[in-house]
Symmetry: C2
Amino acid sequence: MFVVIFRATIRELDSEYSAMAARMRALALTQCGCLEFHALMEGREEIALSYWPDEESILAWRQHPEHVEAQRLGRSRWYESYRGEVAKIARDYHQSF
Amino acid sequence: MFVVIFRATIRELDSEYSAMAARMRALALTQCGCLEFHALMEGREEIALSYWPDEESILAWRQHPEHVEAQRLGRSRWYESYRGEVAKIARDYHQSF
């Protein structure tokens, strides 16, 4: 399994950014094979984690026309900076109390 | 390079949790070879990302006595649930505007 780690600093948050982010989350999960999607925002900082079964799914997600347009909008309008990594899960652990 | 992805739901946030988290961040960066440490909190949800040069550093971090004690405290006092993954970075991208 793979994870895409996306970290961004947003110039100015608005409701359109939230709506776009929600659409992209739904798109990933319903059309591109994304297994899980978790995002947190604190102030102007965002971390989004998406989990994928393979690299092909990540490529499909990156190239999906709606996502390409969202990336373009993000760069021109919302992001002060962003950084992403693709990583392969080596092992995991979890606990509920 | 490796990343440890830690996601937790906190029962109740207090100043002691914040102080412990700050100590653990400093410990990782100054004594265990952690390269970068980024954490966000939204409501009771936390994501912490720490980046490491190799698996040995991650093991040293996991076994550091202060961290072992913090993990014990976390389980008994603060965490409703948590989940972690160790992943190997395959590639990255970044952009500043």
